[in-house]
């Protein structure tokens, strides 16, 4: 029995340097991305310690006094904490559950159509709402849903029904939030699924067609399983940010009558943390959200690997 001698450290270093030099262009391309993550993602983590301090700008991050978990306790002790958490989760889950199927449907429909020109027009039109700001979408929603001059309420009045205050009723506000998000983002979300469909080997469809499979059977047994990796990826990523229920959207759409169903963690942080200049509190809530997101990603990834056979990592 013989053992190969372990390479000397300087030899290993030399080999590494050679390898780096050999792939220098790849490393060069990696640099901007790496710099982005270091500057904008990892460096702020250092400043996240203000969540445990009473941040005083004149003393700086390092010089501000420690206060332990005071800001976390303040958040958990808020009278509205449970309501904020429930609203955030309901709206977020609603967006995931009701947002993904239309995107898959749209992707499949675009993939199945034999008229490329029509497909391209539909694709472009369905992307457009993604580029509208929520302020503009609010204007559109008001024009549609306003009790006094909204198109839908004008229709309801025309058939003798009472107008519905969609944006100020606790019964309709959450559906409006979720459905307006679905309308705005379905086209954009379909891109990933469409890319997954385009990566499926066409030979599979040809073989299935020769074997007599109908279009529906091809979709069910080839297209949908072919999208599974991407679906898992999308769901996992969305779970990671489940406590981000869409600050901009809610901030523009909500009003006092619907706070009980529309106030989410981020809008509370804006009012209590940012508008009252309690940056440590805002950071503490941000850390809390990040931690929950991390736990959900890890757990969901394990479940996905176990039951679906694929995962994020």
């Amino acid at each position: 029995m013989s053992f190969a001698p372990a390479p000397q450290p300087n030899r290993r270093l030399k080999r590494l340097a050679q390898s780096v030099w050999q792939h220098r262009m790849l490393y060069l391309m990696l640099l901007p991305g790496l710099a982005y993550f270091i500057i904008f993602r990892y460096w702020p983590l250092w400043n996240a310690q203000i969540a445990f301090r009473d941040f005083q700008p004149t003393l700086g991050v390092w010089g501000s006094p420690w206060v332990g978990f005071q800001h976390f306790q303040e958040f958990f002790g808020s009278y509205y904490f449970s309501q904020l958490l429930v609203n955030t989760l309901v709206i977020s889950l609603g967006k995931i559950v009701l947002g993904i199927p239309p995107a898959i449907l749209l992707a499949v429909a675009l993939h199945e159509t034999s008229r490329r020109f029509l497909s391209r027009i539909v694709q472009t039109l369905s992307y457009l709402p993604h580029f509208l700001s929520w302020v503009i979408v609010y204007g559109i929603l008001l024009a549609m849903l306003s009790p006094s001059e909204g198109l839908i309420n004008a229709g309801l009045r025309a058939i003798g029904l009472e107008p519905v205050p969609f944006l100020t009723s606790t019964a309709t506000f959450q559906p409006v939030v979720v459905l307006s998000e679905v309308w705005k983002e379905t086209g954009w979300s379909a891109i990933l699924f469409l890319a997954a469909l385009l990566s499926i080997n066409p030979a599979l469809y040809e073989a299935a067609a020769i074997d007599g499979a109908s279009r529906w059977q091809q979709i069910r047994h080839i297209s949908l399983p072919g999208m599974m990796d991407v679906l898992v990826l999308v769901v996992l990523l969305k779970l990671g940010s489940i406590l981000d229920a869409g600050f901009h959207q809610i901030f523009v759409l909500y009003s006092l009558p619907v706070y009980s169903v529309g106030d989410i963690i981020d809008t509370w942080v804006y009012r209590q943390g940012i508008q009252n200049f309690q940056f440590s509190l805002a950071t503490a809530v941000g850390l809390f959200k990040g931690l929950i997101g991390l736990v959900l990603i890890v757990v969901a990834n394990r479940l996905a690997r176990r039951f679906v056979g694929t995962g994020l990592y």
């Binding site: 700008p57 009278y79 001059e149």
Partner: protein, 514 residues
């Protein structure tokens, strides 16, 4: 000989010029000033603005002016600058919560030592000890708190042409107001055959410019609470101090607003509309009565008369309640607040700040900052500065973005800022309307409210009160004994008693509650 003399002379001259230029450069003080946009509809002053040159040449100040967006965006921007320990040298503060925090954090400099360096301004504007108390901490004054230049400028405007058409009298009581609002909603006052008008237009608005909204539904409904004697947040009763919402009349006022909503005489979008939406709609001619400031009216008259050629507006006195009480709302006698950063004082800019503020107080500085370019933006008929309304505000406004530093609110100034306007064949004397709004509104001075510090859970507290009231008014929760008791007892959950106790102590300590 002559040649060498010339050479020597030119050398001496050029070195002298260079030296004076260098001296001027050395003695220039960089001064960063950040103010909320005085004219949000106009851009910042251009780089070649005369003020920059004059201030540089006459005061030795290299002025850098930054315009803050109005409203919460401006507050947040200042908050972000504070968090980065990068506050401007001289800046305006509109959020008292931010002001208190900056004082606590030691980011503001006491300004006591600057007052003697600007004797004219200090004597005319900062010699009110009671007002200074609002910005005093541990015996030090932490800001220049101006006397108010504009307040109580709001009112309820009524369409007189609609009243005449329907044969109605100007409402003077809450009951008459209700009947008129109902008629405006149901009797097609614009005669277009469509059911598209409303009796009253108002929104949930908490703007604090010249008015103090108090906890609850905001500025536009204060007149209802005023009619029941419970306008504002606190009752200012030294024997039984409490929040007004604990009074029985507060419930009655809320019930009255519920009546208006239930009868559908208020625009059903009121709870979600912004102030800009309200303005669009009254200008379209959709409301028989609406809540608006004199300035807001002045800005919208052109559109209003274009859409409603035969319209005529009247300013309504606040309607009287069942006990004969009336008030349009509460206001503060404290005006704009300017603060100086500690960094500015530490780097020796105090004298430059005093120089600049004194210059802005009167004479050349006052006119340049307050009124803009002479004969372009304003004229001086009979020595009364009068704005030139022919120059659009989005042009004229650029040159008066720092006007609040200059204005002092004297009657001549008001005449100039709110001139006579002829529009749609009608004459509006805006400064007279302003005086009328201030005089007939029975406004209640609640300057003391400003000494009450924000609670640590202010957002929860404000939400609790406002949300519950909106739910009552919209009918989401019926107003009955059980629900109202539940609302009042629920105040405990947001630690309202502690807030009340802190308010009482602050008001007593400052002498506003005796």
């Amino acid at each position: 000989m002559r040649k060498s003399f010339r050479l020597l002379f030119s050398l001496a001259l050029s070195s002298g010029l260079a030296a004076s230029w260098a001296l001027a450069q050395v003695s220039l003080t960089d001064l960063s000033v950040a103010l909320y946009a005085a004219n949000p509809e106009a851009p910042a002053p251009p780089a070649n603005w005369d003020v920059y040159r004059i201030v540089r040449e006459k005061l030795g100040i290299n002025l850098k002016f930054t315009m803050l967006p109005t409203g919460a965006d401006g507050d947040n921007r200042l908050g972000a600058l504070a968090a980065a320990n990068d506050l401007p040298d001289l800046f305006e503060v509109r959020s008292l919560a931010l002001f208190d925090r900056l004082v606590q954090q030691g980011q503001l400099a006491p300004v006591n030592s600057l007052l003697p360096q600007m004797p004219g301004r200090a004597n005319d504007r900062y010699n009110d000890a009671k007002r200074n108390l609002l910005v005093t901490n541990n015996g030090q004054i932490y800001g220049f708190l101006e006397p108010v230049t504009l307040s109580r400028q709001y009112g309820i405007w009524v369409r007189k042409d609609w009243l005449d058409k329907l044969g109605l009298k100007t409402p003077t009581t809450l009951e008459e107001f209700f009947e008129v609002a109902k008629a405006f909603t149901e009797r097609d006052p614009d005669g277009n055959g469509r059911n598209d008008t409303f009796g009253f237009g108002g929104v949930i608005d908490f703007d604090t410019a010249g008015i103090l909204p108090g906890l609850g539904l905001g500025n536009h409904f204060q007149w209802v609470y005023g009619a029941y004697g419970v306008a504002g947040t606190w009752n200012y009763n030294p024997r039984a101090f409490a929040a007004n919402l604990r009074e029985a009349n507060f419930r009655k006022a809320t019930e009255y607003i519920r009546r208006l909503v239930e009868a559908k005489v208020i625009d059903p979008d009121w709870a979600t509309m912004r102030r800009a939406d309200l303005r669009t709609r009254w200008q379209q001619g959709r409301y028989g009565m609406f809540f608006e400031s004199v300035g807001g009216l002045q800005a919208g008259l052109q559109n209003f008369h274009a859409n409603n050629p035969n319209a005529e507006l009247l300013l309504l006195p606040p309607p009287k309640g069942p006990e004969g009480k009336s008030s349009m709302g509460t206001y503060s006698s404290a005006g704009w607040l300017y603060a100086v950063s500690k960094r500015a004082i530490d780097s020796g800019k105090g004298a430059a700040i005093a120089r600049f503020l004194e210059w802005a107080h009167r004479g050349e500085g006052y006119f340049l900052l307050g009124w803009g370019r002479y004969r372009t933006d304003y004229t001086l008929p009979n020595n009364v500065p009068t704005i030139n309304t022919q120059v659009p505000i989005n042009v004229r406004g650029s040159y008066t973005q720092m006007r609040w530093l200059a204005f002092n609110g004297n009657p001549l100034e008001m005449r100039g800022r709110y001139p006579e306007i002829n529009v749609g064949g009608r004459k509006y004397v805006m400064h007279q309307l302003m005086a009328q709004a201030q005089r007939q509104g029975n406004w209640i001075d609640r300057t003391g409210d400003l000494v009450v510090k924000a609670a640590s859970n202010q957002a929860d507290l404000e939400r609790y009160v406002s949300e519950n009231l909106v739910q009552f008014v919209l009918g989401q929760r019926p107003i009955n004994d059980a629900n109202w008791s539940q609302f009042l007892s629920g105040l405990r959950n947001v630690r309202f008693e502690q807030y009340e106790a802190a308010a009482e102590k602050a008001l007593k300590d400052s002498g506003y509650l005796r």
